[in-house]
Amino acid sequence: MQPRYALLVSLCFLAVLSGCVTAPLAPARAQPPAVEVALAAGANVAHAAIEPAAFADFDPSSACTSELWVLVNVYETLTRYAPLGSQDALEPGLATSWAVSDEGMTWTFKLREGVKFHDGANFDASAVKRSIERTKELGQCAAFLLEPISEIQVPDPYTVVFNLAYPAPLDSILASPYGAWIMSPGAADKDAAWFAAGNESGTGPYRFARYEPGQRLVVQRFDDYWRGWQPDQFDAVIFEMIDDPVAAEQMLRAGELDFANQVVLTADQMASLDGHNGLRLDAAPSLGNWVIFLNHRHPPTDDLRVRQALAYSFPYESVMAHTMLGKGTLAHGPVPTSLWGHDPEPSRYIEDLDQAASLLEQAGYASGLELTFSYDPTEQTMAELWQANLAKIGVKLKLEPADFPIRWDAAKSAPEKAPHAFLLTWAPDVVDPYSYLFNMFHSEEQPLWNLGFYSDPAFDALVDQARRQSAVDQTAASALYVDAQGMLADDAAAIYASDLPEFNIIADDIQGFVTNPSYSHLVIWYDVRRKE
């Protein structure tokens, strides 16, 4: 062979080889239709950033992570969590009204008439029954929230009755973005693969127009949406999938995005983008908080006095000042102050090193001791501030930063060897004090979220009673939840490092954006407009 052909031959061969590899994989597909709405002259189009992991799962029965940023614009729930400061905690969604009877055991929802699904089907009680039953049967994500439901009845097309096995605040549960979405009967028959291909059928204001895996998802307005449309609302929203914070920052700086949240960008990047090129940083209270579990099964933190000493040693004020752009707020207990059922009094544990030292002395650790602290690498500042405080009273805090899934797996599989202190960033699955108190402190046979391995039957009983009470009387339930938090404080079960803010970067010309901590990190695009 002539050498001059060598290069040519090898390139051809590579091309053929790559063709051989990809050809059998190539899905045969027709040309996707153009998305006219997004392209009409003068169309309002918004661009939002989204993490690709976001598109892990489009099945509304099992979607559990940031794909909810999209789905909340496509599907709706019977009730909705009202923004902070509203008179009622809940507002009507696909249900217009609801009532509870039998001491929280029977819930009757009256449904909205004239609502259409994206596939043209009518929204009615049978769709509600099918959707909730499907999610319950699939048993993924937060399906356990639906566990109290024992039977769903459809007395007429616009009434649905839920019979419960035990009292529960179903009105609040059915507002959860984790698994209470209503889908059309046609969609409810489909499997996860159908949804994964980029199909949907909800009642929400936007419907899927185009899904380009790894690149973007486009939603466009659903013309028959029951709340109707104003001309200045967005016609389409393009969710650009971005894994890399640097790429996201560049796109924001270039004006290619209208919205990005804390999951896509770091807090420091957000601070640097504030005020840049028509962008602003929006900071608001969230329902998230930092809880540092103290291990009840690993000496010496099984000793109450050691746990109390640790709670007194924590630098609450300086941690708040030096993390989360200084926007965190003082936690009163495990239930954040932005939610009902929180302790009205500030925590009895404040930074007091003398108190901490004397408690350690009483416990017999005057000569010092060594403890371990597990946290995410992003929270290094907090860890070092605490470590410095503890060093002053003779405690050596061994820092064990690791990615959450790894340290979580390790901790829950071996409680006796798990770190003495374990940081968890909690965000509730259902907006209710029960989510915090049950998940993080209720006795667990097999540890999941109770990573201090706290166990007190009296506490369990009180929290369960509070939950039953909340089905009929929130004020009474609230008092019980406060009592339960008192028990946790007596036991120094955990350290509440801070109630967390939520950050978003949003274009200045987007108006009407109100952070609703119940729907964090996302925009309900129907509610916002672009300023002319």
Partner: protein, 339 residues
Amino acid sequence: MIRADHLLRRAATSLIVVFGVLTLTFVLTRVLPSDPAQLIAGQRARPEQVAAIRSQLGLNRPLPEQFARYLGSLARGDLGRSFVTKRSVAEDLGIFLPATLELVLCGFALALVVGIPAGILAGVNERGAFDRVTGVAAILGAAAPVFALALLAQHVFFNQLHWLPLNGRLSAEVSLAHPVTFVTGFLLVDTALTGNWVAWRDALGHLILPALVVAVYPLAIVLRMMRNSMVDVLHQPHITVARAKGLSERAILLHHALPNAILPVLTIAGLMFAYAITGTLLVELLFRWPGVGKYVADAIVAKDFPPILAVTLVSTVIFVGVTFLMDLLRVTLDPRVTR
């Protein structure tokens, strides 16, 4: 002449390599302390839910049984479904693999087309000005971190000059208005085949920067290797003999020096190419290129076994295939191999 037994032997070794890599990856993914069932169920799920999913996926079965089942479905051409996205892995690879191949092929074509002639030129003019300049440039190119190159390229060509788009494979506006019909998955090919020239131009614009960045490292290596190899060969007795015979410099270069000098360069280029299939992760991240590197990285983080195994399989096949090809090429160019 290539002998049949040589071919057969190579094919058999290749199969063993593919099987070995597959087995190793399978065992590694299974023995690592991770629980895909928990990841699938979501962090909110209670232990009972997780156990149900584990048995549904057969993850509670003995390892050999799981492997046998996997090989069985593989034999039927079924790469399985992602645990996390529930999408067909074959379908996803059909989207992500051509994206990476388009990027890497363009990058390597550039590297070879520029690197080989430049290397020859530098080798012929040993210690000349061109040799010294390209020498320094090659060291810089091989040493520069790929993320720095990517950011630099974006800064210059997007932020400053506004010549090329920042990232992505096709702009949203073009993709919506001029949808691309899927034929091969190579955007430049598909748009040309269907005469969608608006999308073709847009796709080309998006390809230039990441392809340049992908090209830099192999270009530097190819250039240096070609140069050194050329210098070596030019100092050998048979070249002196050719010169003594009075052959023209052109004939000496093309017929006596180049065939010997280019062999090691092509071998290395082939290996670098195969490596780049999954090795361009950083370029894919920074340029938001929906490629197979990003795809498998996401899968690894999520302990999503089917995509991890499928990508391992495909990249091993490519690697083995490229090595095999390079061997054939060597045999064709260098008769000593089979003699």
